[in-house]
Symmetry: C2
Subunit: 370 residues, 2 copies
């Protein structure tokens, strides 16, 4: 086996942490000695051992003189609020001979310092093996750290002619059960789901992951005038503190007090005479709350605002084989006059789910280079 | 080999006539004697020999006592304006023992009479072998004969959010070169291409098949007020009689005379105070002109009228991975209030062309059962 194969194995191990390491990245480690894998590890859960430490602790024989493969740069001791001892020190202490990594850690407290520390201690370090794959795997983490906002993924379920509901607002069901299962699986991979108040009023969703496995994400509602009914289904969760409502209403508002009393978080933003909540402010707030990824599920006005503000990294269209004609459009005015200005997607992937097409891709001129 | 295999071979032969037999169906024939194929034939071109005759003529040994496989019922002598001698008489004359067919001919002059004639002459006839496949192969012919109108196929090139052009009408190019090649290939399989006047004014298309092979189809333009410019690119064809313009302008109009002088066909329809040309009248006129299939290429108003009037059999969406936001929508008001009324597609097929999705299907509650 060569470097690429070992790194593939490390990436595979890393992926086992999907949905549980956030806001930490997914990391996997393979330790090789005399051409044999002698230990493996991965980061299982936020707050738990790092992959490198787990692998070293798991090794059945001494790791002295071995090569350690890891998809992310080993951490240093400089991170504030650090929960675990730094991996690079442990690697030095264990006299590992060589470290192969896929990407540097974008976290400025680590970025390049981990590699530097290892080299200062005479450990050979190779970087860049399977870098694109490693960046893609941790796209949420990279975006969160570099842009100080969550990774934003828009999920749109629509007809062929781009309608997300009839003119009367009915959207149950445009896409079918198998698409819905896929959506629930997607939800389980995100820290939070975000919808606008119209979606709550029209569909009264639970925003849970009942058709899949994994933890329920945070529920974020954009509700300028705090119109959400107190008996909305979204409040029927046993973890009310994971429901956040952003509004223009002042903190002194009586309804806010009612909601706070139930444990719901309500965040008052200044209106600045804008008709819409400032999405940059909302995203900054979420990032500060350690929410590193958001799945935006509608409705049309919300999608339009996010796209217009270039606040999205990925977008998924679930397209059902039907035409509705008039009705609520998935995306409204983006202020575009020419096709040159159209929002084009890159790294497009098309999947067929029953008779529905799932078209997904990344924002062109996006922030994460691959 | 069994009946199904021989019929598959007959269907394969039939398909060789694609694009050249219209308004006749595609027909293939295989003659089998003592378990061996002794002759094959197919209908090559409108006016040419029928498949059965070609096969019999091609046979190297006597066809007496043989079994003849044909995807369509052999014709009788009852068809008006018949160009060739009836196949069923020839089959009897050649003392063929058994005939296996996939479908009856929907043409009322033949329908069941061919089979009856053969049985009267003591030939064993089996029907229904690969009937669905045979009906699909000749879907244009079946629709044309049964409904006395052309098979109507809507072709829509749009963005993910259902826009066929920017708000300024620009549509070059939403889909890419490979999708365009596919469109030209599709054109070559249709008797006519139809567009609205807005598409002519905006895009000035040639409506030819330059990126593919095959004959140029008829060009049909819906032009209520005869606004088409005399120097439109669509007039640069060496066969001006294959350009038809439907209009509300009376036949006495000076511009009609100009166009007729160039060899263009202009058809004046009564307005009946309707804003749109009566599509049923247009389709009847085309059927009478032996146009058995039409590819409708836009624009949005034209698509909407055809769908609203339930005048379509098949629809193909070429979806490019971009969002335009405001702009011209592919499909406008269909008068639908609830999702139950939405136009759903059946027999959906999804193809990936580069990074574009081609989603196509048939109108549910369509006219041809499969």
């Amino acid at each position: 086996m060569d470097d690429v194969s070992y790194m593939q194995r490390a990436l595979m191990l890393a992926e086992k942490g999907k949905g549980t390491t956030s806001p930490n990245p997914m990391v996997g480690t393979v330790i090789v000695k005399n051409g044999k894998i002698i230990a493996e590890g991965f980061h299982q859960k936020y707050g738990d051992k790092h992959a490198e430490i787990m692998a070293i602790d798991n090794a059945s024989t001494s790791v002295e003189g071995a090569t350690l493969y890891c998809n992310l740069e080993p951490c240093t001791g400089d991170i504030p609020e650090k929960k675990t001892p730094p991996c690079s020190q442990r690697i030095v202490k264990e006299k590992i001979k060589k470290v192969v990594i896929a990407t540097l850690d974008p976290n400025p407290y680590v970025n390049g310092k981990g590699v530097e520390f290892l080299r200062q201690h005479h450990i050979q370090v190779d970087t860049g093996v399977l870098q694109p794959e490693a960046t893609l795997l941790n796209e949420k983490y990279f975006t969160y750290i570099r842009l100080e906002r969550p990774f934003i993924h828009l999920k749109i379920a629509q007809s062929l002619d781009g309608r997300i509901a009839t003119s009367k607002g009915k959207s149950k069901w445009i896409t079918n059960e198998n698409a819905l299962k896929k959506v629930h699986q997607l939800r389980s991979e995100y820290d939070a789901i975000l919808v606008g108040i119209n979606t709550v009023l029209q569909d009264n969703p639970s925003l849970d992951v009942r058709l899949s496995q994994g933890k329920n994400p945070f529920r974020i509602i954009l509700d300028n005038n705090l119109m959400i009914p107190l008996d909305a289904r979204i409040f029927n969760h046993s973890d009310p503190e994971k429901t956040l409502i952003f509004t223009f209403k002042p903190a002194t508002d009586v309804k806010i007090k009612d909601l706070s009393g139930k444990g719901i978080q309500v965040v008052s933003l200044l209106s600045n005479d804008q008709p819409y909540l400032n999405l940059n402010e909302v995203m900054s707030f979420l990032a500060k709350s350690k929410i590193s990824s958001v799945l935006v599920e509608g409705g049309g006005e919300v999608f339009t605002s996010f796209i217009k503000n270039r606040l999205f990294d990925k977008i998924s269209f679930f397209i059902a084989p039907m035409m509705i004609g008039s009705g609520i459009q998935s995306i409204g005015d983006l202020g575009i006059d020419s096709l040159d200005e159209a929002f084009r997607l890159k790294n497009v992937r098309i999947e067929i789910i029953d008779q529905q097409a799932l078209v997904e891709g990344y924002r062109d001129n996006g922030n994460i280079e691959r």
